[in-house]
């Protein structure tokens, strides 16, 4: 059953969306700056930015996970809703909640696996590679964020929904 949205959930959603938008914007700009900076450095200074390749890989993951989290909020995730297109609006709304709950559960399992993987990696990583291991936190954090977003859309009516879709 979808519940009306209490005030603290509205605040939480606003804060999440704002955080996701800001981080995705910064990550995108950093990615653009870094790859473009590499072009300039390589062609005009005959050098390269140290660690740029690794950093840009992680920035792509930041853009991916925060973009995917925003896509839940905007109901933009790709679906093969062949059957859903043929059923009534009422029935579609009824099945939406269990579908999002399943999505939250699946993302939670991925998050659990990703946290374990990250922790194992962290224990054995060399001292000079710790920085990349910290950046790799995006994977477990990203799946946790996706699970949380799915849970919120599954359980509560989004009062901002109409303006977004």
């Amino acid at each position: 059953m979808i519940l009306p949205e209490p005030a603290w959930i509205i605040r939480l959603r606003h804060a999440l969306t704002r955080m996701e938008t800001v981080i995705v914007g910064i990550a995108f700009l950093l990615l653009l700056g870094l790859v473009f900076g590499q072009v300039l450095a390589r062609n005009f200074l005959n050098t390269s930015i140290p660690g740029a390749d690794i950093l840009s890989r992680y920035l792509v993951l930041y853009v991916t996970f925060f973009g995917a989290a925003l896509a839940i909020d905007y109901h933009k995730h790709i679906r093969l809703d062949v059957v859903a297109a043929c059923i009534s609006e009422k029935l579609r709304n009824t099945i939406r909640c269990p579908l999002y709950l399943i999505s939250a559960a699946v993302c939670a399992v991925y998050a659990w696996a990703a946290w374990r993987f990250w922790y194992d990696d962290w224990q054995y990583v060399a001292e000079h590679e710790r920085w990349s291991s910290i950046l790799a936190l995006i994977t477990p954090f990203g799946f946790t964020l996706l699970a949380l977003n799915f849970l919120l859309v599954a359980l509560f009516i989004d009062s901002r929904n109409s303006s977004k879709q």
């Binding site: 914007g25 473009f36 925003l70 933009k76 790709i78 994977t139 996706l146």
Partner: protein, 420 residues
């Protein structure tokens, strides 16, 4: 029990479960069945992140989003109109060229029909073309340009199939131009037969349009020269494109206020990137589990018993991919189907680069194929026409595209001319 769970996942997917969740569920099911640790799936995700081409997807997507939000569609139409609008069927050629240019940057995500369709439909109607022709042309043109650099679909195929993206960009040029030429010839014929009135060629109009649109026109040229001239890698070309487009729309044409609009544009691009790459990241795990379980080999074993020649295989492949193109979004289709098809196609002697062009050509047609091609529904919504009338309108164009598909599939040299 496993079969029941698979059927449940399929049923939920058809009911609207996000595709990446469906693939993730399948991956988890496969790991539990094989007695493996699900952390293995995270290893595959990290492997994907190591792809040298990956950064090009968000950056080319950003360029497409900025171009769509700026005035590029109008400038392109103005320029092509000044160049070829005076010919018989010229306005239709304008639509074909503008759509192809725009789709190469925006991806075939329906944006072309939404952004250009609304501009071109009244222009074509005003020029004297009949409504059925206009609807058919704009609906099928919604996926034109899919084979041109820096199309997102090509990038994704290259990453999934581990094929050189430079080679794919080269291979897409001739088939893409061939399809445009066929559609332009058809439009010229329609323009001549229906005696569509022509406007006069004007050097003044051409000069004005060129002054406005020259910077957009230089964009694909810059990308091709940069990559094939050995100056830039694919990722570097994508960064240069994004910076160029931001300067073009924000500083030269001032269509976008960078201070005010930049963050919303970054967010829109990130949503698109998130939707595609999150599918790719979970699908990699599932694909590898399927390969470990020798699923492609089992399909191959079955096919070797029933399919004797390369020709038979290609016919089956075309039919299968046309159905896939009708049912699935192009990005999901690439991620899900390519890893299963690729080893089989190689076994039948098909070049992976040629396979990529066949794959994308089929999906391009599938987009507009009744009854469920997504372009039909987007066009129906955009032009306010019933889907049934769009079915009828697209038939002559689909017929032409199928002829083109046969040529592209069975004459590999159209795609691989550069190999010799």
């Amino acid at each position: 029990m496993t079969l029941l769970l698979i059927l449940l996942i399929v049923a939920l997917t058809l009911l609207g479960l996000p595709l990446f969740v469906a693939l993730a569920s399948g991956s988890l099911l496969a790991t539990f069945n094989a007695g493996l640790d699900p952390a293995l799936l995270i290893v595959e995700l990290n492997r994907l992140a190591a792809s040298p081409y990956l950064a090009s997807i968000p950056l080319f997507t950003l360029a497409g989003v900025v171009l769509a939000a700026g005035g590029a569609p109008e400038r392109m139409i103005q320029l092509f109109n000044a160049c070829v609008g005076w010919l018989p069927g010229g306005m239709a050629a304008v639509a074909i060229a503008s759509c192809a240019f725009f789709t190469a940057f925006s991806g075939a995500s329906g944006v072309t029909i939404l952004a250009l369709g609304g501009l071109m439909f009244p222009m074509l109607t005003h020029a004297g073309y009949n409504e059925r022709f206009n609807l058919g042309l704009l609906t099928t043109s919604g996926s034109l340009g899919l084979l041109f650099a820096p199309s997102l679909a090509i990038l994704l195929y290259g990453i999934v199939a581990s094929v050189s993206i430079d080679q794919l960009f080269l291979a897409g040029i001739a088939p893409g131009l061939l399809l445009m030429l066929m559609l332009v010839i058809y439009s010229f014929l329609v323009g001549s037969i229906t005696a569509v009135p022509r406007h006069r060629f004007s050097w003044r109009n051409l000069f004005i349009a060129l002054r406005e649109g020259i910077w957009d026109l230089l964009l694909p040229v810059g990308i091709i020269v940069g990559i094939f001239g050995g100056i830039l890698t694919i990722s570097e070309a994508s960064a240069c494109t994004a910076v160029y487009v931001l300067l073009l729309e924000g500083v030269i044409h001032r269509e976008i206020h960078l201070g005010k609009n930049l963050f919303p544009l970054l967010r829109d691009a990130a949503v698109l990137v998130g939707c595609i790459l999150v599918i790719l990241s979970v699908a990699m795990g599932l694909t590898n589990l399927l390969i470990d379980a020798q699923v492609p080999m089992k399909i191959l074993g079955w096919m070797e018993l029933h399919v004797e020649s390369e020709l038979q295989f290609l016919i089956l492949l075309n039919i299968f991919l046309l159905v896939v193109g009708c049912m699935m979004d192009i990005f999901s289709a690439i991620v899900v189907v390519v890893p299963l098809i690729l080893p089989i196609a190689i076994r039948y002697g098909i070049d992976p680069v040629h396979l990529g062009i066949i794959f994308l050509a089929n999906l391009e047609i599938g987009y507009s194929t009744p009854p469920v091609g997504i372009n039909l529904f987007i066009a129906s919504q955009r032009f306010g026409k019933p889907v049934l009338s769009l079915f009828r309108s697209t038939i002559p164009f689909l017929f032409l595209m199928l002829i083109w598909l046969v040529m592209v599939t069975y004459i590999p040299s159209i795609s691989l001319w550069w190999q010799n």
